[in-house]
């Protein structure tokens, strides 16, 4: 007979561990939203892989369940936090929160998560109706999918903001130095983790322009200039870590690579005709962009020149990021077309089941895919200007995030 459940030792241990967690001052919903964020990105990448491998799905397919699980976790924990603080919270807890609609108190990050959860749940019946009206989906971007994507972004952004607010607040005074250090490590780690997921999400949503066939085209670098300098300079500015952009890029690459490595291990069979490419296992999603290299440059400049005027900073970071991004991805595009990339590590043999596997440009750039001459020069100049503006916006956004305290 096991009496340990109610034994005094067990009770003591339990309360002790609770005290440690509580003492670090990191509420449970922080961990919950980080996990929700991960659940969403796994579900999303799996879902894309599902569509390119199996094809047929329903509202409750396993990848959709992962996505909705993320919505439910974040919504439940954030909602609980709001209700608890509003109706049973202490004065101190309320002071650390944002007051809204007269009666409610909650963290800003929690509000983003709640918004994201509702948007994601709203998208489900909307999407179902959309399929019945305009046909089952064959595209990533449709209005109901955009509502879903906005919801996912907000949940993931909420996770980032929640942890950032804690990082930006004073650590609880009763913590020892060691505990404060541990707390900092955990909070900064969670922030990088959630930021990496957010970057993976940005990449996934824009992946129609970010594949290997796009790497010699200006549109690839223009889309990249809009997204990556904006987000990475935000993170570099908001985080208290020295190499925040690099770590974030590392987390993004790791998540994408793990998905490339794991999914094709599982069997999958196309269930929709017409089938042109006969596969037996899941198709991998995209191999990640080598983002750590240009991200290193962002961190490096931020450390050296972080104090100068933000416009000047953007003028340095934007073009530098773009130059390194081109220097890395252009040859990477060539590499991804080679047989070496058609391996388990890089997953480039993956090919949509409905596409012709013998297409002459499956592993080659067609003329129309490559920009050259004046079109290339003009496109890259436009990308450089965009990169400057997007970096500047990122610095502004990061400064705001640095100031989030609730």
């Amino acid at each position: 007979m096991d009496l340990s459940i109610n034994s005094p030792e067990a009770t003591l241990k339990k309360s002790h561990s609770k005290a440690i967690a509580g003492n670090l001052g990191i509420p449970l919903f922080i961990y919950a939203t980080a996990i929700a964020s991960l659940s969403i990105i796994i579900g999303l990448i799996w879902d894309i892989s599902w569509h390119t491998s199996v094809g047929r799905d329903g509202l409750l397919s396993p990848p959709h369940l992962f996505i909705y699980l993320g919505a439910v976790i974040s919504g439940f924990f954030s909602g609980y936090q709001v209700l608890k603080t509003s109706f049973w919270g202490s004065r101190e807890e309320k002071d650390k929160s944002v007051k809204f609609w007269g009666v409610f108190y909650g963290s800003l990050g929690g509000l983003f998560c709640i918004w994201g959860c509702f948007a994601m749940l709203t998208s489900a019946p909307f999407d179902d109706w959309w399929h019945n009206t305009y046909g089952l989906d064959v595209t990533i971007l449709s209005p109901p999918h955009t509502v879903l994507a906005l919801g996912m972004f907000m949940v993931q952004f909420g996770a980032m903001i929640s942890v950032l607010a804690l990082q930006n607040q004073e650590a609880p005074s009763h913590l020892t130095e060691k505990q404060k250090k541990l707390r900092n490590i955990i909070l900064r780690g969670i922030f990088i983790f959630t930021a990496g997921i957010f970057l993976a999400m940005l990449f996934t949503i824009s992946s129609e322009y970010q594949g290997r066939h796009d790497m010699h085209s200006v549109s690839f670098y223009i889309v990249g200039a809009i997204i990556y300098p904006l987000f990475l300079s935000t993170v570099a500015c908001a985080s208290k870590l020295k190499w925040a952009a690099t770590y974030t890029a590392g987390v993004y690459m790791l998540i994408l690579m793990l998905m490339v490595w794991i999914l094709p291990l599982f069997p999958a069979e196309p269930l929709l005709g017409p089938i042109r490419n006969f596969i037996t296992h899941y198709n991998a999603f995209e191999f990640p962009l080598l983002m750590v290299i240009p991200a290193l440059a962002i961190d490096f400049i931020m450390q050296r020149k972080g104090h100068i005027n933000n416009w000047l900073l953007a003028l340095i970071i934007g073009p530098l990021f773009l130059a390194i991004h081109i220097a890395v991805q252009w040859p990477m595009g060539n590499f991804l077309m080679t047989p070496l990339a058609q391996t388990w590590v890089f997953g480039q043999e993956s090919w949509y089941f409905g596409a012709d596997p013998d297409w002459q440009y499956r592993f080659a750039f067609a003329d129309w895919m490559e920009s050259s001459g004046w079109e290339l020069v003009k496109g890259l100049l436009i990308a450089a200007v965009i990169a400057i503006l997007s970096t500047r916006l990122g610095l502004k956004w990061g400064t705001w995030m640095k100031n989030i305290k609730r």
Partner: protein, 557 residues
């Protein structure tokens, strides 16, 4: 010379077409026949939105079936490009009835493969369907209100979040900052403007999506029917609207029309409202879009016009229109008036019948040879003294259930009648809902296209490659005209034998076995697509004369 041979070859190939599922509002495709040693009826309801799912019902009286598998096969990719089959499941309360779903992802000529596995081995049949988007749906109000409510909630919450993001959230506990309220208000105002722009953009995007769907949606051809007085009497002119070039720019030219049962168009004229006048006519081609015929002596009134056509690649469809007949010289006012109209049919197979109106309160047309419509299960006399009965054991008809619709014909002595082929088939039926929203032209083997079935079958066996290139349009049109003229010039027996042979039948099999039990019974498998009141016209041939009759049926939910 080579060109001529190609043309003749292509036309011969295309003449094999037996496309009979032209319809309005009745999208189901029905097959009746044998899969190996199993006798089955298959009813396929294609999706109304592509991509979407087709609902397949299978009815069988055969024993020893272990399972039934369904698979979509597109002509373009053949069977090798089709996913693994899905099992159709036996319905609990109805023995012998199976049901399954098949996903159709692309527009185009496709078919459903039905494979039966059981004690008597395997048997496979292909049921051809056309995968096209035809539906335009509105959002149900309940869902609309729920989504609108959630949308408003999301907008208000986002405005709140942004307002707080630039004000309260940036203040540490206990810290005091100036102008917080003002910042919040500005934040909220900016957020409202941005969200309004996003919503406006989203609305436009949605509209664009709907427009694009509309563009790819199947749009039936339009036509104008009119009457022209000529020296030889009244002529009906059927002019196909050439504006289809705008709505269906990739459509194959009408010069590639091909004959079905030896006719370019099977046209039905049905008097609106009372449905008491019915004509089955076959207009002749004047030019590629204009057709004409000697108008039968039909009573004045407004008529539904349904023209069934087929073009080169086997795409069969119905062009619907209306026609107002006025000042018809033939007098129908007096029952005693036996004036025989001097109507010279432009096609020897053109016929018409006058029957009782569908509603008792409607006035009966005054003419001598009125056909009284029958009802299921009740013997009905026919004009030549014979009689017909719709074999029905008293059960009421339900929508979306497949019925064999079997008609037995008896000669004036009460003995089973000896039927003869009429335009190469043992019978023709037209089913119409009283309001004209459902119309279909049926033949005894179901309403699938045997041409598409044949093409896909040959694609699977590897005999058929990519689509054959058509000969030049004018050349094709002239050749078809010549073929039709040749068919018209044949004696009736030769013509029937020729048409039956084209469809892979011969007189013995079509009259003796398989699709007909003997010479006196004709079966039209059909599932009424929706509840309502229907009239069904049946046309057969006995003693060299066309036998026309009609039945009324009430179909419930």
């Amino acid at each position: 010379m080579k060109k001529l041979i190609t043309t003749i070859f292509t036309i011969t190939l295309l003449l094999i077409v037996n496309p009979v599922n032209s319809h309005v509002g009745s999208p189901g495709v029905i097959f009746e026949g044998e899969a190996g040693k199993y006798k089955i009826m298959v009813n396929v309801n294609p999706p109304d939105v592509i991509p979407g799912t087709a609902n397949v019902q299978i009815y069988t009286t055969s024993e020893g079936i272990e399972k039934i598998l369904l698979r979509p096969i597109y002509w373009y990719t053949g069977d090798k490009g089709s996913p693994r089959a899905e099992e159709a499941l036996l319905l609990k309360d109805t023995p012998g009835q199976y049901q399954g779903e098949v996903w159709m992802m692309e527009n185009g000529a496709a078919s459903i493969e039905v494979k039966i596995i059981g004690e008597n081995g395997e048997g496979t049949v292909l049921v051809p369907i056309m995968a096209v988007s035809t539906a335009q749906k509105e959002m149900e109000p309940t869902l609309g209100w729920i989504l609108a409510g959630l949308g408003i909630f999301l907008v208000i919450l986002m405005i709140t979040i942004i307002g707080n993001s630039v004000s309260d959230a940036t203040v540490a506990p206990g810290e005091v900052k100036a102008n917080l309220k003002r910042k919040k208000r500005i934040g909220m105002a900016v957020a409202t403007v941005i969200l309004a722009l996003i919503l406006y953009g989203g609305m436009n995007w949605w509209n664009l999506w709907a427009e694009r769907y509309q563009r790819f949606m199947f749009k039936p051809f339009q036509a104008n029917s009119s009457i022209k007085d000529t020296e030889s009497g009244k002529k009906m002119i059927f002019q196909i609207d050439s504006s289809y070039l705008k709505t269906r720019p990739n459509s194959l030219s009408f010069k590639y029309m091909i004959p079905d049962h030896g006719k370019l168009i099977h046209m039905f004229l049905i008097r609106e409202g009372s449905l008491d006048a019915f004509a089955h006519v076959h207009p002749t081609r004047v030019d590629s879009l204009t057709f004409e015929l000697n108008l039968p002596p039909l009573p004045n009134g407004k008529y539904f016009v349904f023209a069934d056509i087929v073009r080169g690649q086997g795409f069969h469809e119905t062009i619907a229109d209306t026609l107002e007949i006025t000042e018809q010289e033939v007098k129908f006012q007096l029952a005693s008036n036996k004036e025989i109209p001097t109507w010279q049919p432009s096609d020897t197979d053109d016929t018409y019948i006058i029957s009782n109106p569908v509603l008792p309160e409607q006035t009966m047309l005054a003419t001598s040879n009125i056909v009284t419509c029958g009802k299921p299960g009740i013997k009905t006399p026919l004009p030549d003294g014979s009689s017909a009965i719709w074999e029905n054991d008293g059960e009421s008809l339900q929508a979306n259930r497949l019925y064999p619709m079997t008609f037995s014909i008896f000669d004036p002595d009460g003995e089973p009648a000896e039927l003869e082929p009429y335009m190469g088939m043992m019978g023709h039926a037209v089913v119409m809902k009283h309001d004209g929203s459902v119309y279909i032209h049926l033949h005894p083997v179901g309403n699938y296209s045997s041409a598409t079935q044949d093409l896909i079958q040959r694609r699977i066996s590897g005999d058929e490659g990519m689509p054959r290139k058509f000969p030049p349009a004018e050349q094709f049109k002239d050749s078809v005209d010549q073929v039709i003229a040749g068919i018209q010039a044949m004696s009736e027996k030769d013509r029937n034998d020729y048409l039956m042979e084209l469809m892979g039948h011969n007189r013995e099999t079509i009259q003796g076995e398989g699709e007909h039990e003997g010479h006196s019974v004709v079966t039209f498998p059909y599932a009424f697509p929706e509840p309502g009141n229907y009239r069904i016209w049946i046309q057969m041939k006995r003693n060299g004369k066309v036998l026309n009759t009609a039945f009324d049926a009430v179909v419930t939910e």
